[in-house]
């Protein structure tokens, strides 16, 4: 991974939303809870909205997702929360109180809007992006960065582990999904 300055010359590798969606389904997720995120809008959310195997619940604010996802676990329904990193930052108290302190399998897919291609979040020029991973670390939430198609294979195991061991997890979408 490059620094923000080096990224300008790095080749941009592709990340296909269809592969992300397949991985989500592979993990047994059938409910998607979302506030639209420009970063994942076309590649992930748009196709999910017309996918009859996934039930999309559009919410008004990101912390709603945390409560809904918690309630869904009482029917053994697996859900994924698809939001932007700004929404993650907004919802931190709900994540702290529900997902972390109650050890709930809350699965967050967080779009890193405007992250420079090929640059690690902690090296981004953008303050908001640099603090995402440290915040997850403070919360004790395991996280994985999905930058290209090669990384997508990590999505399903992360979700499976969260449900098997009842803990939250975060999947950071660094590449712009197409």
């Amino acid at each position: 991974m490059a620094t923000a300055g080096e990224a300008a010359t790095a080749p941009i590798q592709k990340l296909h939303g269809a592969k992300i969606i397949a991985a989500i389904k592979q993990a047994g997720v059938d409910h998607i809870l979302s506030v639209p995120d420009l970063h994942t809008s076309q590649g992930v959310l748009r196709p999910i909205s017309t996918d009859n195997q996934l039930k999309l619940i559009r919410v008004c604010k990101e912390d709603e997702c945390i409560g809904i996802a918690a309630g869904l676990t009482y029917g053994n329904i697996r859900s994924l929360i698809l939001i932007q990193y700004t929404g993650f930052l907004y919802a931190i108290n709900a994540i702290r109180g529900v997902a972390c302190e109650q050890n709930m399998p809350i699965c967050l897919m967080i779009g890193l809007l405007q992250k420079e291609p090929g640059v690690l979040p902690q090296n981004s020029k953008r303050f908001g992006l640099r603090i995402v991973e440290p915040m997850l670390d403070v919360l004790g939430i395991p996280h994985t960065l999905i930058e290209t198609d090669d990384d997508v294979e990590r999505i399903a195991p992360a979700i499976e582990h969260a449900y098997a061991h009842s803990h939250p997890t975060a999947i950071l979408i660094g590449g712009r999904a197409i």
Binding site: D63, G67, Y74
Partner: protein, 188 residues
Amino acid sequence: MINRAELLRFFATKITDEIVVATYSSASDWIDIADRPLNYFSAGAMGLASSHALGLALARPERRVVVLDGDGSLLMNLGSLVTIAKVAPTNLTHFVFKNGSYEANGGHPIPNAGTDFAGIARSSGIAKSSTIHTLEDFKARANYFLTEPGPVFACLDIEQGPLGPREYAYMYRPEQRQALRDALAAGK
């Protein structure tokens, strides 16, 4: 004005296998009256009771889910009314106890005690929204609230109750959540 504890004592005689989602002062009163496995206490983040309840209603469509919310709590999550209206779970009943104050946080007033919560719910898309001013009116409509296809919303005008903080550790303990899971698994 309705005495909340009195209303809940009556409500406890009407419920059977419903999941009751309660938060803050309503939860404190409820657990004193009906400490049961099918209770779910919304903990961790104020305002999310209705969202927890929506998830539960979708997860357990065979059950009625009843939310005992507060006015201060709902003000922190008004968008949930819009979400609930769109998802439209037929098994969800949402009560909001309106006393115009953050009772659990020292009794300070909510920003506007004149807020028409039933009006907000209705304009959010929950057509079956009403305001209840007396215990007699609530008693008369209790069966409706528990059987009418939802989502159903009612704002209950109540008196100020005891000021918090009250005991939360007992209701929020992990064993309570496990008891609910066990009861649901056993079909109780």
